[in-house]
């Protein structure tokens, strides 16, 4: 395959909040204009726009891509919205990447937005419709069920305790205390706080879960010849991968996310990575629930099956550890405006790899990072590898 090199050259994001005064359009514009300013570009330089946002049901707006288009700068440009559930935030930069890698466009703006607060009083009700309408929805399921069921299976399969898992929430919420956009940063939170928080759906407690949020993130992608003109610190997209497992989620192994492994293998192959544990310096796996960070680290082949909790216990995944995981603070700490949360991870790698992450900066001048998201009915994996 002959593909052009593609770099991230700019990034911007809004605060992540439980409920934003701004509309989705307004949030999208704020993140987009910040991303353009960060690389001293204007909308005239942008040739196409890719937008990511999660189910229309949150917004009560049909064709949400069209609704958000003016805020995303799509006017009179090639424009497309992509959607793979929670995986969207790491898929939409992949879509932007192939727009540029293919040679079709030199500069693409990638925008991810989520406004979950519109579904009132709580976005949870909107999730009912992700279950099969004939064989599952009659049981009145809620979204917590599938996470609780998967977490319990993961714990049982490998003998993992709730304490082991709670350490992830503690790490990420503490990391988020250094993120200026974070909703739930807390430098003093402890494992006991997580274990003593309200039991929502055993084994899931309230502090095991990321918060419903509003927010937007944008990045600017450029082809090599443009990127080198714009900045002396381009961050290259070295590999991408995505994969889907069966939608019959009760017919597969819930203890191991094989679709994440397949997405990761695709990305590692493209990036020429043979030993991911040595060659990836920073990881931003999807962490809507604390156990998911561990589950995904295993699917990404960065930990042996059932061994990811030990890495957390040993401090390996701390910001100053050998393999920092979610130095941003992740969804658990920064917040989870679904599509925006995934793209936040890409923005974090961009800032980390340029040495611009401020108080969150991972030491040792990292050269390569991996971001991953996950979604649909628990069976899509999306992976992006970035390096400088």
């Amino acid at each position: 395959m002959s593909m052009r090199k593609v770099a991230v050259v700019g990034a911007g994001m809004t605060k992540f909040v439980r409920r934003a005064l701004e509309t989705g359009k307004e949030l999208s514009w704020q993140a987009s204009s910040m991303a353009l300013q960060s690389c001293e570009m204007t909308m005239d330089d942008v040739e196409a726009v890719c937008l990511g946002t999660a189910p229309d049901a949150f917004d009560g707006v049909h064709m949400n891509g069209e609704y958000l288009s003016d805020g995303a700068g799509a006017w009179r440009k090639p424009y497309m919205r992509s959607y793979v559930g929670g995986g969207t935030g790491v898929f939409v930069p992949i879509q932007g990447w192939y727009h540029v890698a293919s040679g079709l466009f030199d500069v693409v703006l990638v925008v991810a937005e989520e406004k979950m607060s519109s579904y009132y009083p709580h976005a949870q009700g909107a999730f009912l419709t992700i279950f099969d309408h004939t064989t599952e929805r009659a049981l009145k399921p809620n979204l917590l069920w599938i996470f609780a069921l998967e977490m319990n299976r993961y714990m049982q399969t490998y003998g993992i305790s709730k304490e082991d898992i709670a350490q992830v929430a503690v790490k990420n919420k503490r990391n988020a205390a250094d993120h200026p956009s974070a909703l739930l940063g807390d430098p003093n939170i402890t494992v006991e706080d997580v274990l003593n928080s309200e039991v929502l759906a055993w084994p899931v407690n309230r502090l095991d879960v990321s918060p419903v949020s509003d927010g937007a993130v944008a990045i600017v992608l450029a082809a090599e010849h443009v990127a080198k003109r714009i900045t002396d610190k381009p961050v290259w997209i070295e590999g991408v991968g995505w994969n889907l497992d069966t939608a019959y989620w009760t017919n597969r192994d819930l203890a191991y996310p094989r679709y994440v492994e397949y997405a990761a293998r695709m990305a590692y192959d493209m990036a020429g990575i043979k030993e991911p544990r040595k060659q990836i310096n920073i990881v931003e796996p999807y962490d809507p629930f604390d156990y998911k960070e561990l589950h995904h680290m295993e699917g990404l082949l960065l930990a042996d099956r059932g061994e990811a909790p030990q890495m957390v216990a040993d401090g390996v995944t701390q910001r100053d550890g050998d393999m920092p995981v979610c130095p941003s603070g992740g969804l658990l700490g920064v917040g989870n405006p679904i599509a925006a949360a995934g793209l936040m991870k890409i923005a974090e790698l961009f800032w980390q790899l340029r040495g611009e992450a401020g108080n969150r900066q991972v030491p040792g001048q990292p050269t390569r990072g991996l971001a991953q998201a996950w979604g649909d009915l628990m069976q899509v994996g999306t992976v992006v590898i970035m390096g400088r």
Partner: protein, 172 residues
């Protein structure tokens, strides 16, 4: 963060500000009624449930029995060969004790959703349902369970024709 960013936009509102009318918001509802066709395979499944039988479907090429049944084998992308009546027993693959309803109301007695691997289907192949006639604290992964059905005249060809699965000591 990036050298060029000094402030982050976005204005946080509290739930109280909405409730108290301190900020303007528009409220509306989107009622929607749907009539979903069952399709062929799920039609067979629902008709089976009405008769008190759980059907799966079998692919002879892949030697897999899946549940709920479907017309297409995901592995070989060929039609499934036949429907197979399965047992109404199985084992708990995983479960939760859920203290929140689908519309985020808190409840004292937990709901007990589970994935139940159905006897007669391939390994790790199950359906989502609920557990009953068991103390929540007694539920264990690996526990054998059996369907508790509505009476024949009350069944209407729906997943709710099975009320729940209860502990079951018998062998299959």
């Amino acid at each position: 963060m990036s050298d060029k960013i000094s402030t982050y936009p976005g204005t946080s509102l509290s739930e109280k500000e909405i409730r108290d009318g301190k900020v303007l918001s528009i409220q509306d509802q989107m009622p929607g009624k749907f009539s979903w066709d069952t399709g062929i395979a799920i039609g067979k499944y629902l008709a089976g449930l009405k008769d008190g039988v759980i059907f799966g479907s079998y692919c002879a090429t892949c030697r897999r029995t899946v549940v709920p049944p479907r017309t297409i084998c995901e592995w070989c992308f060929q039609p499934m060969d036949r429907y197979i009546p399965l047992e109404d027993t199985g084992i708990v693959n995983t479960f939760s004790l859920c203290y929140v309803t689908w519309d985020v109301r808190r409840i004292k007695e937990p709901e007990t959703p589970a994935v139940i691997e159905i006897d007669g289907a391939s390994s790790l192949h199950g359906i989502m349902h609920k557990l009953g006639e068991v103390e929540p604290q007694e539920i264990k992964i690996g526990m054998r369970v059996k369907a508790v059905w509505k009476s024949a005249e009350m069944r209407q060809g729906a997943i709710t024709d099975i009320l729940y699965f209860k502990p079951h000591e018998g062998s299959h």
